[in-house]
């Protein structure tokens, strides 16, 4: 039994934490938050690219570091802790993983090295309106190598160079790769609850597109698999954020006095933070199991991903809202970082499919497993 990260992986985590605490300070995040014309933290992004993290899970033959999925989980948690305002997840968790899983050899060679270096930035464009994506509702179409339709919101859609677009394709759906500087692509930034991450509406009007892999009509199955894998990485981001909320709340509760003693000495706060700790540990343990499933391509991946996702969404939401509550009035000011975590918690809980969707996936997976 070794249900923990290795010493090397922990070393990577410590280094990543040191780097990010220095380079991704609150000021860096707030520069993106407060300036509408700043879509992401450029310096940070440059450094992250240089360190090769984007290619941590990309094989060396394709220009990556060839480390593995566990290392990517470690990085995800650290990026989540500091609310890194960069398009990392879009490129590494969604786009790169999709190419790794479903791309043709040519696509792997064409995209992975440039994703790893950061020359290309990928994103995932599935949403067209309220509700989760399903083939029947899709309006965006893909035929004869062209995509037409409107996607919104697309996280990092205005920063990315390439999008993976879910589109109707005959009676089914396909995933298509679109270069976003192509003709027929119009991108408009949109306002969201989470201004430290950039979002766009993208209109495709006969934009040139290339099928992901070489099998048509497989889009929903591919998306399902892409989301399963991304869910685990995002769960680590969420766990990182939730852990940081708990730390902030503890720190404040030990400091802030009311009625002559620290508020952390009152059971209302103590038990709130104990509840937060319990949820965070449940989320962390489920995320670890997801990491194991991801790194070993285990048959348990679907339920591990769903459980990690459900637990992490609940933990981050609870931690972020009760962190504000613990901070009282201070927590409701723009200047204190609490609300940034509340905003990020909400983004991460809906971005890769909302908790209700994942609960349903989880139960379906359990039914399938127990029927077998």
């Amino acid at each position: 039994m070794d249900f923990d990260f290795s010493d090397d992986q922990k070393f990577l985590r410590d280094e990543a934490r040191k780097f990010l605490e220095a380079q991704c300070t609150s000021a860096v995040v707030r520069n993106v938050l407060d300036n509408d014309d700043v879509s992401h933290a450029e310096d940070l992004w440059k450094q992250v690219k240089e360190m090769g993290w984007l290619g941590a899970a990309i094989p060396e033959e394709h220009g990556g570091l060839g480390l593995g999925m566990l290392e990517m989980c470690v990085i995800a948690e650290e990026l989540g802790r500091v609310l890194a305002p960069i398009p990392f997840s879009s490129s590494a968790f969604y786009f790169a993983e999709a190419i790794k899983q479903f791309g043709t050899d040519a696509q792997k060679s064409a995209y992975l090295p440039k994703i790893a270096s950061g020359e290309f930035v990928g994103c995932l464009a599935t949403s067209e309106g309220p509700g989760d994506s399903d083939a029947a509702k899709l309006k965006t179409g893909f035929s004869s190598g062209k995509v037409s339709g409107t996607k919104l919101p697309v996280t990092d859609g205005d920063i990315a160079t390439h999008a993976l677009v879910l589109a109707k394709d005959g009676s089914g759906a396909s995933m298509a790769i679109v270069a976003l500087d192509a003709d027929g692509v119009t991108r408009t930034p949109i306002q969201t609850l989470e201004p430290t991450r950039s979002h766009a509406e993208i209109v495709f009007d006969g934009a040139a597109a290339e099928l992901l892999g070489n099998e048509v009509g497989n889009g929903m199955t591919q998306l399902d698999s892409i989301l399963n894998r991304a869910a685990i990485l995002v769960a680590f981001e969420q766990v990182g954020g939730a852990s940081r909320c708990l730390e902030m709340a503890i720190e404040y509760a030990n400091e802030r006095q009311a009625f002559g003693r620290p508020i952390g000495g009152y059971q209302a706060i103590k038990h709130k933070l104990a509840d937060m700790y319990v949820k965070n540990e449940v989320a962390r343990s489920n995320a670890y199991y997801g990491a194991w499933a991801l790194s070993t391509d285990a048959a348990e991946l679907p339920e591990a991903a769903a459980a990690a996702r459900v637990a992490a969404s609940e933990a981050f939401w609870f931690a972020s809202k009760e962190n504000i509550q613990t901070h009282g009035g201070m927590g409701f000011t723009w200047e204190v970082d609490c609300h940034l975590y509340y905003r990020r918690a909400k983004l991460l809980s809906v971005q890769a499919g909302a908790p209700g969707v994942w609960k349903e996936k989880l139960v379906t997976a359990l039914e399938r497993k127990n029927a077998a």
Binding site: L193, G260, F332, V350, K359
Partner: protein, 398 residues
């Protein structure tokens, strides 16, 4: 058991409705929140207050001698119910007439009453309440703003926070520390302060929700004549309790989208068939009804001349968390799309997104969830107070 007015109540309601219909437009149900520029809103609010006062509806429970109607609390409730159906700009006066001016009436001199009450009543002067400080929120009595006696004046220095309406207020009541060498509750004194004094600086607070409705107020060597003291020196806490008890009976007005709105949204979105959502909807309905009907029980008590107790504190405990939960569910129902807050892109959705960002503030403002539960436990259920380690300590020694 019935929902009908008594004969007297019905008569009053008819008068109120007639007056409202004559003077105001009905609220347009479909319009959502109008985009009101603050200046225009304030002008309209002042005009409406003047009209109300002229009609005898400004402060219904106040004695006629000071410009009120000499009416009953239930008449005030009825007025509030009816007024809320119209496009009535009332918010700038809520705190002043509801809390500050009654404190002036209770503790001020005759000169104060003559000078301040009429102008407040007709809307010429607006008041704000200056109690909370950055280091004194739930524990207001731990405040630090100092008032030091200097001849016939007091000199005020310090900072207040979360002050509603400070930016357009003419006067305020300010709670200060005048004696740091006694236990914290015993060294406080209340004053009337002129908000236009050059030593008073009002800065809007940038809230987590993005808005700037509240203020910080800085006092730098603000001189207040001793004659503008309310209550004796050192008696400020008792004065403040009167202010806080004068908080008028909360009326209607859900703070944001409720079960009906999310049900409507779900119907439009075609997600009403989701069993998990249906079960939550039932819970929301039950809680919202429970809150509304509990208010009806309080109003019944009022209508019978009884005084409803602190049972009303259940209201905000229910509604603030309820709002956060409903908005969160609405956002999650939208999946990735739920993150959009752009009113033009997603108008049907934006009410949920906005309230989601507002809800954390509602759980804190006017008493946190935790403080309200303490109040219920101690004042309604009779459980012992928590240990107060600072009870007998001089403030300066803490």
């Amino acid at each position: 058991m019935n929902f009908d007015d008594t004969e007297d109540e019905a008569k009053f309601r008819a008068e109120a409705v007639a007056f409202l219909e004559k003077n105001l437009e009905k609220k347009d149900a479909g319009a959502g929140r109008a985009d009101r520029s603050r200046d225009d809103f304030l002008t309209r609010a002042k005009a409406w207050q003047k009209t109300k006062a002229a009609g005898g509806f400004a402060q219904i429970t106040w004695p006629k001698a000071i410009g009120g109607r000499g009416g009953t609390p239930i008449q005030q409730v009825i007025w509030n119910q009816e007024e809320s159906k119209f496009d009535a700009p009332t918010s700038p006066f809520a705190i002043g007439l509801g809390m500050c001016v009654p404190t002036v009436i209770a503790f001020g001199s005759d000169e104060h009453k003559q000078r301040f009450v009429p102008k407040a009543l007709v809307g010429d002067e607006i008041w704000c309440q200056l109690f909370s400080e950055p280091a004194a929120g739930s524990d207001v009595a731990g405040l630090k703003t100092k008032a030091v006696k200097d001849g016939d004046d007091w000199v005020i220095n310090g900072q207040k926070v979360w002050t509603t309406g400070a930016q357009f207020s003419d006067y305020g009541i300010v709670l200060t520390r005048t004696d740091p060498d006694v236990p914290k509750h015993k060294g406080l004194t209340m004053f009337i302060v002129n908000m236009k004094d050059p030593g008073v600086e009002v800065r809007p607070i940038h809230q987590a929700s993005g808005g700037r409705e509240f203020n910080e107020v800085y006092f730098t060597d603000v001189r207040i004549p001793d004659s503008d003291r309310l209550g004796d020196p050192g008696q400020g806490w008792k004065v403040a309790l009167v202010t806080l008890m004068n908080e008028r009976l909360a009326v209607g007005g859900s703070p944001g989208p409720d079960w009906k709105e999310i049900m409507g949204y779900a119907r439009d979105a075609g997600t009403m068939s989701d069993g998990a959502f249906r079960a939550k909807l039932a819970d929301w309905y039950v809680a919202a009804q429970g809150y509304k009907l509990t208010k009806f029980r309080s109003q019944t008590a009022l209508s019978k001349g009884e005084t409803p107790g602190p049972e009303n504190s259940i209201g905000k405990v229910i509604t603030a968390n309820h709002l956060q939960d409903i908005c969160n569910s609405a956002v999650e129902m939208q999946d990735h799309y739920g993150i959009i807050s752009d009113r033009d892109k997603a108008p049907a959705e934006a009410i949920f997104q906005e309230s989601l960002m507002w809800a954390p503030g509602l759980r804190i403002a006017g008493g946190t969830d935790e403080i309200l539960k303490n109040i219920i436990a101690e004042r309604v259920l009779g459980l012992p107070q928590d240990v107060r380690v600072d009870k007998d300590k001089a403030f300066s020694e803490m």
